[in-house]
């Protein structure tokens, strides 16, 4: 069983690497962006939230 901290680390890495070929599509377009472009941009913005979460599990803030 993976710890919460490990999950918070692995999920964004997987989302931006191995998951990208699975979402490698133009449709559905979101905010005018091809889906794969939107996916990468969205995860870029989510990474700070994941790092914040990791910091919480380690009690740094």
């Amino acid at each position: 069983m993976l710890s919460l901290r490990a999950l918070l680390t692995i999920i964004p890495i997987a989302a931006l690497t191995v998951a990208v070929p699975l979402v490698n599509r133009v449709e559905p377009r979101i905010l005018g962006l091809p889906f794969v472009f939107f996916w990468i941009l969205a995860w870029t913005l989510l990474v700070p939230a994941f790092i914040w979460g990791i910091g919480r599990t380690e009690r740094h803030w």
């Binding site: 191995v18 091809p34 990468i40």
Partner: protein
């Protein structure tokens, strides 16, 4: 010189000169010992460090190269957007530990970390030499970025070579006096200009030519239906290449010698953790550069070869007044020059501390600061000579730089997280990785679509583990984080 060129180049000169003067006046009150000069006295808070790190990471090559890839390649450009956030996620775990060790043991350079953790000045010397050899062409690369910018801002009317040489002498002198703290102050201005330039290029240009960024993407897809999706599987620059390149580049993200200096300059461990959290936000700007490249693809099609890197600058030159071009070129010039100051400082610091220092030369504080300062100027001249003598081999060298730097990652990660690692394990992994990088870069062997550096990194890590397990675990002299 014609009138538009004078306006554009005048703006560039005033902005660059003003930035350097501002940064110099901000550091005047600090006395420079090696700690202050090379790692800013280990005193930078969250915002200052954020600006410094963003200032070093996002160079002119990031902007020109990224727009050029969007123009010339399309979807493979996604890798540039994706590796940063993963790099920060990894940095969240590694940088605070590196900082803690550096603070306790008084480390000044990236090579110091290897010498100290593996209790081997020889490994420090070797790392120092490799870092130095990799840094000089990276500085040179900033010179050719600057040349592209100045040539366009001069509307072809000036000899950019002389201007680049002049600008470079100026930043060498600037770095001589200002040190890392000066780089951080200059980065504040650089980031402001780059933000303005990127918003203009990525939002204003698409709005004016197409009505909206979304409408621009419609047009791109109509003209090139597969431009914004990756080729499947193991095709060149396809999905496998994408995933392996993102991972490789993210692992190497903070392995550059200048990144060690930036990490050491932090005030505390938590400052570095917060930075890792905030830095991905800066990465969103890269999306706008991607847009600028796409806009250029539609507005000024038909460029090929190295000219694609100039694509969106040519759009600005052709359709906007000289002062707009001047502001954009000024932002780009700062993005070339300010990271170059950090690179000069890292190269000079590593040579003083790990090469001269290993042979017992310049070991007192005063002589070490002086030697580093003089070497800053020497490295700048070396880079300039390299640029004049071998202008065309640069891009090849950059690939070697990044793949080479990344080979240091297994030894760093093992030193931080794996107590069973030995000096022989780390050294043989590193050697195997570096040799493979050189062989694979020279031979251009296709490896199931994988990035060549990724293969070298895997061999490196396996060698490190295998050799470590086979060699006796000598208690490292500097056991554990103190």
């Amino acid at each position: 010189m014609n009138h538009p060129a004078m306006v554009a180049l005048g703006i560039v000169a005033v902005v660059v000169g003003g930035t350097l003067a501002f940064a110099l006046s901000s550091v005047r009150r600090f006395t420079m010992d090696p700690q202050q000069y090379i790692v800013g006295g280990r005193s930078f808070g969250t915002i200052f460090l954020w600006v410094l790190m963003a200032g070093e990471i996002y160079t002119s090559f990031t902007f020109l190269g990224l727009a050029g890839w969007a123009y010339g390649m399309g979807a493979p450009t996604y890798y540039v957007l994706a590796y940063g956030p993963i790099g920060y996620l990894i940095g969240y775990f590694t940088l605070p530990r590196i900082w803690r060790i550096a603070k306790a043991r008084g480390l000044l350079t990236g090579a110091d970390f290897f010498a100290d953790r593996y209790a081997s000045p020889t490994l420090g010397l070797f790392t120092g030499c490799v870092h130095f050899v990799l840094l000089v062409p990276y500085v040179t690369l900033q010179l050719s970025g600057l040349q592209t910018l100045l040539r366009i801002a001069g509307y072809g009317a000036i000899d950019a070579t002389a201007a680049v040489g002049g600008a470079f002498v100026a930043i060498a002198l600037f770095t001589f006096f200002a040190g890392l703290r000066g780089t951080a102050w200059a980065s504040i201005v650089k980031d402001a200009f780059v933000l303005g330039g990127v918003v203009f290029a990525g939002i204003a240009i698409p709005l004016q030519f197409f009505g909206s960024p979304a409408a621009m993407i419609d047009q791109v897809l109509r003209a090139h239906p597969h431009w914004l999706t990756l080729a499947p599987g193991t095709a060149p620059h396809g999905a496998v290449w994408y995933a392996s390149t993102v991972l490789l580049t993210a692992i190497g993200y903070f392995m550059g010698p200048q990144s060690f200096n930036a990490a050491y300059s932090s005030r505390s461990e938590n400052t570095l953790r917060r930075n890792a959290m905030y830095l991905p936000i800066y990465n969103v700007m890269l999306t706008l550069v991607f847009f600028a490249g796409l806009a250029a693809l539609l507005v000024a099609p038909g460029l090929s070869g190295p000219a694609v890197d100039q694509s969106f600058l040519l759009v600005v030159q052709r359709y906007y007044p000289p002062w707009v071009l001047g502001c954009i070129a000024a932002a780009g010039s700062l993005a070339a020059l300010i990271p170059a100051t950090a690179l000069l400082l890292a190269a000079a610091g590593v040579f003083t501390k790990n090469v001269l220092g290993t042979f017992g030369i310049a070991t007192s504080d005063a002589s070490r600061t002086l030697a580093t300062r003089v070497l800053v100027v020497v490295v700048a001249l070396l880079a300039l000579i390299l640029w004049i003598v071998f202008p065309s081999t640069l891009v090849g060298l950059l690939l070697v730089y990044y793949n080479g730097i990344t080979q240091f990652a297994p030894a760093v990660v093992a030193a931080l997280f794996w107590r069973r690692v030995t000096l022989w394990g780390a050294a043989s992994g590193l050697l195997a990785g570096l040799l493979l990088v050189i062989v694979l870069s020279a031979g251009n062997v296709p490896l199931l679509g994988l990035n060549a550096g990724f293969v070298a990194l895997a061999v490196n890590a396996v060698t490190l583990v295998a050799v470590s397990l086979c060699t006796p675990r000598r208690a490292l002299q500097n056991e554990g984080p103190p």
